[in-house]
Chain length 335, copies 2
């Protein structure tokens, strides 16, 4: 049978996805109506859902493997920032037309890679057909030792603000993905441009930071809609004000190169989405321990500011010592 044939029937689709559930007893081979989870004694479950849609969260030209990776990664990233270890996920797939066997086979392969990396399995879901873009709605379930989930609303005045990894790579990666000629305009080598695109296409949830966050962070969340907007959300939930210096925000070598050539890009990077790094508020007495543990875990963190008493607000000082003007101060919002 040709690889571009269409899959007719939900059963044909489920058959292609069933290997992703293999070995997880409570998935029942995707042949039951529900999945069964047996939480380990002394643990609590952390749950969240984040759909991705073609044309909104990914591009129709993206490889099916990458679409799958990203659909799972954006969900697991939320768990990672809560200090949770992924266990399982459910997935609702909506297709505007019967999917190609070849497309779904590659999509399943990408999910397989991602779930192996993140340590979770597909346990259930649903498939339907409807007008509109291809949509992948994953609900991810993780676990934490009881009482240790790291919340968003528990940052305190006096805490220091840390971020993991580097900020802005994915924002530039998306721009490059849409217009490859920007690489030349920005003075980037091909390898540097590819690295930035990879950061957009295959985000790596910071799961290695879980124990560090649980032990040392006052509050944490992932950065998905732009650093400034997400810092603002933590401030609002915790009723604190954040003071950050743009010069302290960790940038990759490639991004530093772009900013050196076009300093006005800095403000854009701080408000671009898709970073999937961790934002953490940390009591000053815990900062050194957090830093050391993060480095030991292979995901260095950088102090980018501090929190003071509310009302909630975010102030970013530019490299010139003055308040930075932010082009999209509110960051990414669908509405």
């Amino acid at each position: 049978m040709a690889d571009h044939d269409k899959l007719h029937g939900e059963e044909a689709i489920i058959a292609l996805l069933a290997p992703l559930a293999e070995g997880f007893a409570g998935a029942f081979g995707l042949q039951d109506d529900c999945a069964l989870l047996t939480p380990a004694p002394g643990t609590e479950l952390v749950l969240e859902t984040d759909p991705v849609a073609e044309g909104v969260h990914f591009l129709s030209s993206d490889a099916p493997e990458d679409v799958a990776w990203k659909a799972l990664a954006v969900n697991v990233s939320d768990l990672a920032a809560k200090g949770a270890a992924p266990l399982a996920y459910l997935m609702a797939l909506s297709f505007p037309a019967a999917p190609d066997r070849a497309w779904l086979t590659r999509f399943a392969a990408g999910l397989g890679e991602a779930q192996a990396r993140f340590g979770c399995q597909l346990v259930g879901g649903d498939t339907d057909r409807r007008p509109g873009p291809l949509t992948i709605t994953i609900t991810a379930i993780g676990s934490v030792p009881a009482g240790t989930m790291v919340r968003r609303a528990t940052a305190r005045a006096g805490d220091l603000v840390f971020v993991s990894g580097t900020i802005g790579d994915a924002g530039l990666g998306l721009a490059l993905r849409k217009d490859a000629s920007l690489a030349t305009a920005w003075g980037l080598s091909r390898a540097e441009a590819e690295e930035l695109v990879a950061r957009y296409v295959r985000p790596e949830p910071r799961l290695a930071l879980g124990p560090t966050l649980r032990a040392h962070a006052s509050a944490a969340m992932d950065i998905s809609d732009g650093l400034v907007k997400d810092v603002g959300r933590m401030c609002k939930a915790s009723d604190v004000a954040a003071h950050m210096a743009a010069a302290d925000v960790p940038l990759s070598a490639a991004v530093r190169k772009v900013v050196a050539r076009s300093p006005q890009m800095l403000a854009r990077l701080l408000t671009a989405g898709d970073d999937y790094e961790v934002l953490a508020a940390v009591a000053s007495g815990q900062a050194q321990a957090l830093s050391a543990a993060a480095t030991a875990a292979g995901v260095p963190v950088t102090r980018i500011g501090a929190l003071s008493a509310g009302p909630a607000r975010v102030e970013v000082t530019g490299p010139d010592g003055r308040k930075l003007a932010l082009p999209r101060a509110t960051g990414w919002d669908h509405f």
Copy 2:
């Protein structure tokens, strides 16, 4: 502010939904990135997801309260058939345009009614904007005493087949919802027609049957895509053959009236979707206890057939004693 104003900003939408999370500690007022569930000792969690989309699963003319009810009910129905008690749900909402405040207020009111009836709460979710129909993707989480979830694949040859309530009401209700003049053609009173429409619009998950199913059923699942198709799914998962008599299928007074006038409707009713009743396989020694317990729980069940050794198939005998010709033998399939 006018009631037909648009809600701009995810925060405005979350504010309208937050009362649905009130009192559930792990929902954090919908202000965190994840929800936290603390399973009771000795329980396991039962999870599933089933999206509904405008124009596919509900009509754009449906009242927002009813859309909300149905979106939650179709998910809770799956839990009910597994013997699980609903605890919580996550909801991803996708709007093609900023929603009206009035629409979302009514939608939230319908969800409030439904979750109060079903005994669960909204604990998290996501809101986005994308082309295509309004879509509501709920992931429902229930609990069962450890080891008691009722599966689909555990029906055995020799078991009897039972269904709860009555079959076909919602199928006729949908037809009436699309063309009210059918009521006259079918000889239905206004009250009878309204009753059938209500069965389509506000399905009632058979939660009261939970303990009965856990105690007495070999296997169970909900009937959502047509009785014959769903019996076929149980047969396939359990590798058994089902033998049913159409005359044994429980019908409401209104549906009996339609069938008396148009006997050919019977086959259509057995393959119509949206019943949201429970299908159960029951060892013959358990049948009487199951029946009695179901009646005591207020949801009578009816024996409609029996299972024999596979290969999997479904045979339905018509009222004339001959094999019934089924117009849509495969029932509802999106592909």
